[in-house]
Amino acid sequence: MENMNIIDSVDPEILNAVDKRAREIAQGATVNGKLAALLALGSIPIALGAIAKDVYGQTTADVNNVLQFALLLEFLESDFYTRGVASTGMIPTAVLTVFTTIRDHENAHVTAIQSLLTSRGQTPRTKPVFDYTAKGNLAGFNFGAAQYSTFLAVAQAFEDTGVRAFKGQAGALINDKPILNAALAIHSVEARHASMIRRIRGGKGWISGNSRGDLPAFTQGVYDGEDNVLQGGINISTLTGASENGGTTAASEAFDEPLTMAQVTAIVTPFLP
């Protein structure tokens, strides 16, 4: 009876997909070991959930987790730019519009992600008190009027991290199209920010190899793996015309690389309380 109630409450589309998958499994399709064990135990509610995950790859909990993770990153950025713009005399007047624009975007991203979480019945995480000295890696940094260069360096690290972080979570959102769209719409805006800040700093808008340039060593994780030139088994640096089109450097620049949630967490941890 309990099982029936659970099944009644499941979206028919999911049931159809699960039913199809169950028939495939019955016909010998490969399943992971845990699901096989649950099916053998005859635990219908648990197996139903497990098959649903097997069919769709990700669960609602995974999506919520991604949103909370994204919210932390957006909190970090919005707080960082809010403080930067508020610091009298730090940001040169010529580029102040750039930074107020970015600040406004990050604030709006925070609000949007909070709303998504609330609409999903989740309680959005609260904003931490960030440590912008990064546990002493940026000793003395407090958005002082003479600290613009440090501010810019940190901004680049945050934006390049943001791009990689959102990219790394796209797969986890593949079955939730509205959330996937929102994440992608933010992802490409972060890339626009990253390009602009890199260019303000006198660099290219894109990432060459795994170079952090003149950023402090503790930020190297932001760039590790960006030198990858193998895309889906295709070596970009040896494609037809590659040698006349920037070679290995361009091959790394032409594709941005993802970071896992754990890698991103390691990068931002020095800034957390």
Binding site: G57, A94, V95, T97, V98, T101, I102, D104, H105, A108, H109, A112, V163, K167, A170, G171, I174, K177, P178, L180, N181, A182, L184, A185, I186, H187, S188, V189, E190, A191, R192, H193, A194, S195, M196, R199, K204, G205, W206, Q231, G232, I234, I236, L239, T240, G241, A242, N245, G246, A250, A251, E253, A254, F255, D256, E257, P258
Partner: protein, 250 residues
């Protein structure tokens, strides 16, 4: 100069095969000569699609069939990357000829962008293989490749279109590997879009004009891209539904 390549066309029928048309264009680019035998002279004067530029959408059908799954998305991307690569190749050719008013900074940025777009194109070419590959013919109307303002405006349109296209097509991708590949490219297109917009309007909000980038329907993108492509773009078995992005239906 007797070592220049030469091609002899015995009759007008040969002009109708793609192979010999391509060879004619290749020969002309190499400074070679095409010898038309007397019987050809009349026929050639009628064959205006070899000689004169043709308008957008006036060519053969180029239909992307969504029944092919993720392959259709890659084909859609391939058409856009071919267009972008061709555009920047022409921009740089004009720049290298010394006839443009591009600045050194413009040229440095668009050189890198050309590299990236060529590599995106070649990557998709290999990924799609001969069965699903195709070659588009570009057309730019009366775009003046020597004019900085016109070149940057077109570059901006193409980059913004690229960003919106990948963002909008992503929802139809079924394989997470393909979704990741699209994600790896779209952020580079967004970096380009930012740089180009800032060349046009330095240090304004132009580099990132919206809180959320648009998530555009493939049909919207095809409509924009069609303006630069001779083949008649079309979709078969296009998905009936489109989930809009944060900015609504685009």
């Amino acid at each position: 100069m007797s070592d220049k390549p030469k091609m002899i066309i015995p009759d007008s029928g040969m002009l109708m095969t793609p192979r010999s048309r391509r060879d004619i264009l290749k020969l002309m680019a190499m400074g070679g000569s095409v010898v038309l035998l007397p019987s050809m002279l009349t026929a050639c004067s009628d064959d205006d699609d070899v000689i004169t530029p043709v308008g957008p959408g006036t060519g053969t059908a180029l239909t992307i069939d969504f029944a092919n799954g993720d392959t259709a998305i890659l084909q859609f991307a391939y058409a856009l990357e071919q267009l972008e690569a061709d555009f920047y190749t022409k921009v740089l050719a004009a720049s290298n000829a010394g006839t443009t008013n591009l600045t050194a900074a413009d040229k440095a940025i668009m050189t890198d962008i050309k590299y990236h777009e060529v590599l995106h194109r070649e990557y998709l070419k290999v990924a799609l293989g001969t069965t699903f590959g195709f070659t588009i013919t570009t057309t730019y109307g009366n775009l003046n490749f020597n004019d900085r303002t016109a070149v940057l405006a077109t570059a901006k349109a193409l980059e913004d279109t690229g960003v919106q296209a990948y963002n909008g097509a992503a929802q139809y991708i079924k394989d997470t590997n393909n979704l990741l590949a699209a994600g790896k490219i779209v952020s580079v297109e967004a970096r380009h879009a930012s740089a180009i917009a800032d060349l046009i309007s330095p240090n304004t909000a132009a580099f990132a004009p919206k809180v959320f980038d648009d998530v555009a329907r493939p049909a919207t993108i095809a409509g924009i891209a069609q303006g630069f492509i001779v083949q008649k773009l079309g979709f078969a078995n296009a998905p009936a539904t489109f989930v809009p992005g944060p900015n609504g239906v685009v």
